[in-house]
Amino acid sequence: MTNRSPSPIILLGTRFLSPYIMVFGFYVIFHGHYSPGGGFQGGTLLAASLLLIRIASGTKIASLQFKDYLATPYAALGVVIYFGTGLVAMIMGGYFLDYEQLPIPGLEAADLRYWGILIIELGIGLTVMTVLTLIYDNMVKGEDYA
């Protein structure tokens, strides 16, 4: 397993397939307001598209797409996006995670809740994607062929 070179068919196939899975992941996150889906599911799909490249072509090529040392800061950034949204709403005079008080001008209360839900779904998606990538990277560290 360690000395086998990757097949070009698999490389081309995964490079063809991976962007479409990523686009579908973004669709699941952003369309979660109208259909089943959301941050957790979309983040898992984004991680699937990253892991497909990582499994097929090895860590060295895949690190051109997403550096493995960036995974932990991005996961923390996702939590900070969620927590910061709640904290900003609390500082602006509401309860914790009360999106009605977010300081976005020109929107009424219901639309502010709409955008607040979207912001926290983005944070969740970022965290789930980077954590799944982080787990894979740490499990195969020093054992993959490329």
Binding site: G32, H33, Y34, S35, P36, G38, G39, F40, A71, T72, A75, A76, G78, V79, Y82, F83, G86, F96, L97, Y99, A110, D111, R113, Y114, G116, I117, I120, E121, G123, I124, T127, V128, T130, V131, L132, L134, I135, N138, M139, K141, G142
Partner: protein, 97 residues
Amino acid sequence: MIIAFTLVLLFAASDLPYRGEASNQMNQEVSMTGTKVPGNYYIQEAYNDAHTPNIVTVILGDYRSIDTLGEQIVIFTAGLIVFLLLRNRKEGEDDDE
């Protein structure tokens, strides 16, 4: 024993009310003890509160958002634990711990 357990479950399930019936206790606006049922409020007011057609998204992201924050922190903690456990596995062999 499996057959006996199946019989017990079937006997219990034969007494359940039909799903979606309007006279069920869980579909009432006021519960048995006189308090308001939150699920009824969510179904009636979710679109007016957040302009989002998907009720599940509104419940998870708005009404129960602290629970979702906890789920995200659980995932983040799991990732950190894997990172800390597997990070120094190669150098860990000559550590004297």
